[in-house]
């Protein structure tokens, strides 16, 4: 794979057009955390008030629920959580101007479509490597929903946070491509179970 591209948040369309599935990227700048409970509340409140807890235009959301910091740490362990659980809410946020999400694992079709439509990217970080990833987070500020504990919305400052472009605006999917490349088994021969 190629040398990592360095990008800074908020993301502009120029930067996004330049990102292809499989690209290594180092992200610097502010990002916002939100996972299941924060997404649910954010969108429910948006329905009622027409407002979100932060200006989402051009921003990046990191799907993470960190551990509490030990004394001397900025943040505890902070790796990505599985992204598809947020898929119910993501297209709406993309429509409102969100430009990037960071998580782990596959996205579903509606999100992939929305990424193309609204020109945004989904970055995958290395799941489970949370002790290492937290070292790229330099500051933390509570933004909203503090009562949600680990699921509260926080503003983080990233320094060269390592990710891979998983889904780009051109409809490419890094997981699908690489899995097929190394697959030595015919999946279509397996019977269909409802799983």
């Amino acid at each position: 794979m190629s040398e990592p591209k360095k990008i800074t948040t908020p993301l502009t369309e120029d930067v996004i057009e330049n990102l292809k599935a499989g690209d290594r990227v180092l992200i610097s700048g502010y990002v916002y955390t939100a996972r299941d409970a924060a997404h649910k509340r954010m969108l429910e409140e948006y329905e009622k008030t027409g407002e979100l807890p932060f200006d989402i235009k051009g921003q990046v959301i990191y799907y993470v629920g960190p551990t509490p910091p030990k004394p001397g740490q900025v943040i505890g362990s902070a790796g990505p959580t599985t992204a598809y659980r947020m898929d119910k809410y993501t297209p709406k946020l993309l429509e409102l101007g969100l430009k990037g999400t960071i998580g782990k694992g596959w996205r579903t079709e509606p999100v992939k479509e929305a990424l193309k439509k609204y020109k945004a990217v989904y970055f995958a970080a290395f799941g489970g490597t949370a002790a290492l990833l937290s070292k790229h987070i330099k500051s933390v500020e509570m933004i909203a929903y503090e009562d949600l504990g680990t699921e509260a919305i926080r503003k983080l400052y990233f320094e060269d946070f390592p990710v891979i472009v998983a889904n780009d605006i051109y409809g490419n999917d890094v997981f699908q491509e690489l899995e097929e490349k190394y697959r030595k088994i015919d999946l279509s021969k397996l019977p269909q179970f409802c799983i």
Partner: protein
């Protein structure tokens, strides 16, 4: 009759939980190192290296290996000649509470599944399976089950006519569906037989067996070996970025079964293989 104080259990379990969160078992680390030698994908090799580095940093700094410090699950075997002074359930919950607070673990449990989902704040109540065994000791096995991999675990009531072929396909399909979402390389725990619920318990408990340790029945051991081979043909690879290391091991446990049934459960264990046990 041997008397064991609940207080002693609490102290030991608290350390057990914290150690499990910081120190990934040696056998798993060894399996990742040898997988690295065989991994075909360059990014796969890099990810396996990152996993090893993460384990090193977590151990060195005594911080959580993964931010999802998991659902605390205990298998507790109490010797029938043991008298416990105090309340063992309370002792274990208190151990989890203290480990969460003093060990800087994430509170990852909600009080209820579909109403408010309010966080319990301290990872209690822990899930405890109790068993009575001969002897005068207590064995406590602890596992921290991350949501990402538990979410991809599956159970299926197959028909006896489906046989091994059906079971095998179900296991492979489950692993394929888990894919990048569940943070591979996996250890795949399989329970076959028993009842609907017991198959899942077997699958979970199987994950305490050491990596590379085969089932004592050579016929089951063969099935495990075959499955490891097949699963690693899926191409999922480390963290789903493609490659030949999708699972480092498969553990099968079997139990007697109703003549009408063939239950099978697959418990996916991610690379955050946090489990540890002790004996008092």
């Amino acid at each position: 009759m041997r008397t064991i104080k609940a207080e002693e259990i609490k102290d030991k379990v608290k350390k057990l939980v914290m150690d499990a969160e910081y120190f990934i078992p040696e056998d798993f680390i060894g399996a990742i190192k040898s997988a690295k030698e065989k991994e075909e994908s360059p990014i796969g090799v890099e990810i396996l290296d990152t996993i090893l580095k993460n384990a090193e940093v977590a151990a060195e700094e005594q911080v959580a290996y993964c931010q999802d410090t998991g659902y605390p699950v205990f298998f507790i075997e109490i010797g029938q000649d043991v008298h416990i002074e105090g309340n063992i359930r309370q002792a274990i919950n208190e151990a989890v509470r203290e480990a969460t607070r003093e060990g800087y673990l994430r509170a990852s449990l909600a009080y209820d599944p579909v109403l408010e989902r309010k966080n319990t704040g301290d990872n209690t109540p822990a899930l405890m399976y109790f068993d009575i065994v001969p002897g005068d000791k207590i064995k406590i096995m602890f596992a921290a089950k991350g949501g990402g991999s538990e979410n991809t675990s599956r159970q299926m009531m197959l028909k006896p006519a489906d046989g091994w072929e059906g079971v095998k396909n179900f296991i492979i399909k489950t692993v394929a569906n888990a894919g990048p979402n569940a943070c591979p390389p996996f250890t795949v725990g399989v329970g076959i037989g028993g009842t609907f619920d017991y198959s899942a318990v077997l699958a979970k408990k199987s994950l305490f067996r050491h990596i590379g340790e085969r089932h004592p029945d050579p016929k089951i051991a063969k099935l495990e070996e075959k499955l490891i081979e097949e699963i690693n043909k899926l191409g999922v690879g480390p963290l789903g970025f493609g490659g030949s290391t999708t699972a480092v091991d498969v553990k099968i446990e079997v139990a007697p079964v109703h003549i009408a049934s063939l239950p099978v459960a697959v418990n996916i264990q991610c690379h955050a293989a946090r489990h540890k046990e002790l004996e008092i």
